[in-house]
């Protein structure tokens, strides 16, 4: 509109009339019938339940899947369960320590305990810890872990020999070779065969 002269003789009322006249176009007489036919080919409007049941079903399935995954994940990683209990934390050795007892014997038992509790507190998955340590996880039941921790403690405190002594002596005593007396074999001819042989000769 720059450089143009202002409107001459075009009033608001005249403009409105022009616009209304330009838009005063009626559709064809069959227009409503066409819409009815078009709408008739459409599926009926969905009801409340029809609109929402896919959403509800999807949400329910997702919730079940999440619950199952969470349960299976927890049961497959006992160290996370152990991490919830402070007393158990103190008893739980690291998976790597269980996998390599020779390394554990020289290591501090408290260090792997801190590692397990950290994993539980952060809520990380075990795979994250695997990536950090570069070692594979070894899954051992809780009782075996406790027993192994007790064994390591006994070895470190020098109680191992005393603990094993009573059970180790018994087999030694019974393992001494006993004298076996085997009577010499005597081969005697059967009387009937000897008699038959004498007749034939």
């Amino acid at each position: 509109m720059d450089g143009r002269k202002p409107a001459e003789g075009v009033t608001d009322a005249a403009l409105e009339r022009e616009i209304e006249a330009a838009l005063a176009v009626d559709p064809s007489p069959e227009f409503v019938a066409k819409i009815r036919a078009r709408v008739a080919s459409e599926p009926a409007p969905a009801s409340w339940w029809h609109l929402r049941w896919p959403v509800l079903a999807t949400a329910a399935v997702a919730a079940v899947v999440v619950a199952m995954v969470a349960l299976s994940w927890q049961s497959g990683h006992p160290e996370l369960v152990i991490a919830r209990n402070a007393r158990d934390i103190a008893l739980a050795p690291a998976p790597q320590a269980i996998a390599r007892p020779s390394e554990v014997a020289s290591a501090n038992v408290a260090a792997p305990t801190r590692r397990v509790s950290t994993a539980g507190r952060r809520g990380r998955s075990p795979s994250t810890n695997e990536g950090e340590s570069g070692a594979s996880e070894v899954l051992i039941s809780r009782d075996e872990q406790r027993a192994f921790a007790m064994l390591v403690t006994a070895v470190q405190e020098g109680r191992f020999q005393r603990a094993l002594a009573p059970t180790a002596n018994a087999p030694e005593a019974s393992a001494e070779p006993m004298d076996i007396s085997i009577p010499p074999l005597v081969i005697e001819p059967l009387p009937q065969i000897a008699a038959l042989g004498g007749e034939e000769q």
Binding site: M1, P6, E8, I19, E20, D26, S28, V32, E42
Partner: protein, 191 residues
């Protein structure tokens, strides 16, 4: 509930209820169709200026409205939704159909045709050219205000905009239209 357990209704009863609700919906939709079909057509015509195309677009808008009619049972909401949907569909149609040059009543840019035509046709051509030159926000206000004598309040309700916004847009649009029309008329006289 009134503190007592309601008896379980038989399935056939619930089915009858569903059928009844569907029939109510059909009746309501028919009422909306009768009162809003021309509005939808004119909105589409305001964009396309082609009768058959405008009818197609309006039909498509009604088909979409029918699919979502449970959420659009309120009359005002239905009309507002229908106007916006029709406007959008018409714009889509116009953009995707650039090749179509023939107009039913108006040739878009063809001064020779405008000069040769009658005065009414000429004025209409100039007016539509001026409306086309408006921005989309101003154009939709002008078109809706020119349909069925809608006032500012009704246009605001249809567009779900504040009345002040509609008023200022309408004022701006009319100013631009007057400028454009006077300029076009002058040019035509000179030619």
């Amino acid at each position: 509930m009134h503190g007592r357990v309601e008896p379980v209704r038989p399935a056939i009863s619930r089915w009858n209820d569903a059928v009844s609700v569907d029939q109510d919906l059909e009746h309501e939709f028919e009422a909306r169709l009768l009162e809003s079909s021309t509005l939808a057509f004119r909105v589409a015509f305001g964009v396309l200026r082609h009768r058959e195309d405008a009818e197609d677009v309006a039909q498509e808008a009604f088909a979409k409205a029918y699919r979502s009619f449970r959420q659009l049972r309120d009359r005002d909401r239905f009309r507002a939704w229908l106007v916006r949907m029709t406007w959008r569909l018409a714009l889509d149609r116009k953009r995707s159909d650039r090749r179509r040059l023939a107009r039913e009543d108006v040739v878009a840019v063809n001064p020779t045709t405008a000069i040769d035509s009658t005065d009414a046709h000429e004025r209409s051509t100039l007016l539509w050219n001026a409306i086309d030159a408006l921005s989309e926000k101003l154009r939709v206000v002008v078109v809706l205000a020119g349909i069925e004598g809608h006032d500012i309040r009704e246009v605001a309700a249809l567009l779900e905009l504040p009345e002040g916004t509609v008023k200022s847009r309408l004022f701006l649009a009319r100013q631009q239209l007057k400028d454009a029309l006077s300029w076009m008329v002058e040019n035509q006289r000179k030619a």
